[in-house]
């Protein structure tokens, strides 16, 4: 790595390297770039929504376009921005934290990324091909079935492809954590972020099939004349809602649990203390995941499931506040009496606690079935889920990017700009969404294109929109920070924060592509810290220096995903003209052909000889 990094490489070589890479650290870069692109896109959509609502009866965009905006904002942010960025962070850090050289299935890892990317691109192609999906990010069936044009078809095909990629990622992380922990790294010595990755992957594995099935049902209804959701033909539209939320509720925990793990690591590092209540934190995470599967109907209190069902789901929902409370108090106790460093990563973590707690509190309010009849489909709900998703997930993503930037890119982000980003975002976020609680309570319904004058909604909406500009400013500063850092940022040591876990114990920053020349021996929780406290300063190797076996890169994941991408267009347009079957079958055949090639080609990878490792160590 050190040899190649000093040489200038052509753009084509770099591009080819990234197209064929199966190194978990480079796939993490790809996830962050892809997710970051969609994050900016989703952010622009959010700003357009807020500009439309800046004043009463505004006509900045048309009603139909507004529906497309809200649908694509939600879908993009959840499926194409938040989740990929989380998968990127997991990819970059989790294998290092457990002392592995790569994930269990590097090829699958690459395939997962490219499926996500092509799925996301397919979904966004709809903007240029007659209109984006417009039935809301939940795409409730009765509305989605009657939506004209191909918008919802793009939603179905795009999410199906992207969802398959996510499912692969989850399975891969599970196999990695079960099988590839370094010597001595028992389950109960794993950093909380690795634990959170594990539990999140379980959620992905169990929740995504429900979405897959649901999307197939909608696809058959819209494209092949079935009637699962068509009431007039004996179907039932509520099935969509159930299946969507059986997936959708675990999905929101998929969005937050990795960040719970990340914040635990950050609090412990910057407080210079062992995480308070480590075991309780692990089991609280499991409990949240477990309960997450039995609360889906709290999204459907007003559907008319009856008082018994509503009561059961209300109680189960409120029970989740208990493990979450355990976590909040453990974070506070971790900081209590610690030697606290406040830098931009820690600021995001500190800002997260009150913001997320407000979101959790309104969550318990919404969990009360009787009260929910008042809140349902108002801006109160909008405020609630933005407090948990922005106040939890987005704060966490920024925290993780600042904290792990040295590990991922070998540079340290500019502190001043980092703090400016935090404060403007923090203020803007609370300005935008706190007032929306009250807009909701005053009766402003969600997803409405315009509101009327003099109903007490004018000022609140104006404040909310100004807050959105603050957040946009913060994101722009962050982007400038990235470019500034890439050009002029300081190159840190591999352990700039006096870290506690194995991602800080690598030989260089960023780590060499084989991560560890010798796998480290873990002697307890916070393994690097133990070695520091005992005066060793670095990890004891668990094996003699020897040849390292690494897998070879491959272009096949990219080509397979391209095949499914083309087949996606075939599926969408075959209802218009049978010539599109050519794209459908052609794309499928191409993807399957790539699979056949992959199956029959023997590729045993390559070895990094011992001599090269010794040379690089000098």
């Amino acid at each position: 790595m050190s040899v190649t990094a000093t040489q200038k490489r052509s753009v084509g070589a770099v591009l080819w390297d990234y197209l064929t890479t199966i190194d978990h650290k480079k796939i993490a870069h790809l996830y962050l770039i892809g997710g970051g692109f969609f994050f900016i896109l989703g952010g622009l959509e959010a700003v357009i929504i807020r500009i439309q609502l800046i004043k009463p009866e505004n006509d900045f965009i048309s009603a139909g376009f507004y529906n497309e905006m809200i649908t694509m904002h939600g879908t993009t942010m959840i499926f194409l921005a938040a989740m990929p960025i989380l998968l990127g962070l997991m990819n970059a850090i989790m294998p290092l934290q457990i002392g592995a050289r790569d994930v269990s299935f590097p090829f699958l890892n690459s395939l997962g990324f490219w499926l996500f990317m092509f799925g996301g691109l397919l979904l966004n192609c709809s903007w240029f091909l007659g209109g984006a999906p417009d039935a809301g990010w939940t795409s409730y069936a009765s509305l989605a079935i009657d939506s004209p044009g191909h918008g919802v078809d793009f939603y179905v095909a795009g999410l199906q492809i992207a969802g398959a990629g996510t499912l692969m990622g989850g399975i891969n992380f599970l196999a990695t954590i079960v099988n590839m922990r370094a010597p001595g790294m028992t389950y109960m010595r794993m950093p909380l972020f690795a634990w959170a990755t594990f539990i999140t992957s379980v959620l992905i594995l169990f929740a995504f099939p429900a979405l897959t099935v649901n999307l197939f049902l909608l696809m058959f209804d819209r494209m092949f004349g079935s009637a699962f959701f068509d009431v007039a033909l004996g179907g039932n539209t509520i099935i969509w809602q159930h299946l969507f939320w059986i997936f959708g509720h675990p999905e929101v925990y998929i969005l937050i649990l990795p960040l719970f793990g990340l914040f635990s690591d950050v609090f412990s590092t910057f407080s210079k203390k062992r995480l308070f209540g480590y075991t309780a934190m692990v089991f609280a995470t499991m409990l949240i995941a477990f309960l997450g599967f039995m609360v889906w109907a709290h999204h459907m209190f007003t559907v008319g499931l009856g008082p018994v069902a509503n009561s059961i789901f209300a109680i189960a929902t409120m029970a989740i506040a208990v493990p979450t409370g355990i976590k909040i108090f453990n974070w506070l106790a971790t900081m209590w009496g610690g030697s606290i460093t406040i830098n931009s990563a820690m600021l995001w973590a500190l800002g997260f606690i009150p913001s997320f707690t407000i979101g959790g509190m309104t969550g318990v309010m919404l969990g009360s079935a009787v009260a929910d009849y008042q809140y349902h489909d108002t801006y109160f709900v909008i405020a609630h889920f933005h407090y948990v998703i922005v106040g939890g997930t987005v704060f966490g993503i920024f925290c993780g990017l600042h904290y792990w930037w040295p590990v991922m890119f070998g540079r340290i982000l500019h502190e001043g700009m980092g703090k400016l980003t935090f404060w403007t975002f923090f203020i803007g976020f609370h300005m935008t969404f706190f007032i929306q609680h009250f807009l909701g309570l005053m009766g402003m319904p969600r997803r409405y294109w315009v509101f009327l004058e003099d109903q007490g909604l004018d000022l609140g909406n104006l404040i909310s929109t100004i807050g959105a500009f603050f957040m946009s400013f913060a994101v722009i500063v962050f982007i400038i920070n990235i470019f500034y850092t890439a050009a002029k940022g300081e190159r840190p040591s591999p352990d700039p924060y006096d870290g506690r876990t194995l991602e800080w114990a690598t030989a260089s920053s960023p780590p060499p592509h084989y991560n560890f020349a010798q796998l480290p021996l873990t002697r307890g929780l916070d393994p690097l810290w133990i070695e520091k406290m005992e005066g060793n300063g670095k990890m004891t190797p668990a094996e003699p220096l020897g040849d390292i076996h690494m897998p070879n890169g491959s272009i096949l994941p990219f080509l397979m995903s391209l095949g499914f991408f083309i087949a996606g267009f075939g599926f969408i347009y075959q209802v218009d003209h049978s010539a599109w079957y050519l794209a459908l079958y052609g794309g499928m055949a191409f993807a399957l052909g790539c699979m056949v090639v992959r199956s029959f080609k023997d590729d045993h990878g390559h070895h990094i000889p011992k001599e090269e490792l010794e040379r690089e160590a000098d």
Partner: protein
């Protein structure tokens, strides 16, 4: 591990006997699964059993078949399968919870 077994003939004999036993178990499991399937089709086709008993019988046979699948063909009976077993039962739990919940909501 061919190089390990060739060094010691007693280990080889032991391994051979173990493989033979394993194969026997696989074949018994496979044969009984085929038999269960035939019985299930048989009792439905001949209409010899009342519907009240038919459904529980088929469900019980299905559960036994799933057990064979997990424990014999997917080797959950062997050592070192605690984590796969946990995840499989977790998945079964999530699926049953979903079906149970939907069933209750629909028919209760």
């Amino acid at each position: 591990m061919p190089e390990n077994t060739s060094t010691n003939s007693t280990v080889k004999a032991y391994q051979k006997k173990k493989n033979k036993d394993e194969m026997k178990k696989q074949l018994i499991a496979f044969a009984s699964m085929i038999a269960f399937t035939l019985i299930a089709f048989g009792i439905v086709a001949t209409e010899s059993v009342d519907k009240m008993f038919l459904i529980p019988i088929i469900v019980i046979m299905a559960v036994v078949q799933v057990g064979f699948q997990f424990y014999y063909f997917m080797h959950m009976k062997d050592k070192g399968h605690a984590m796969p077993a946990t995840l499989i039962y977790g998945g079964v739990w999530a699926a049953l919870l979903t079906l149970g919940g939907l069933g209750l909501i629909t028919w209760w």
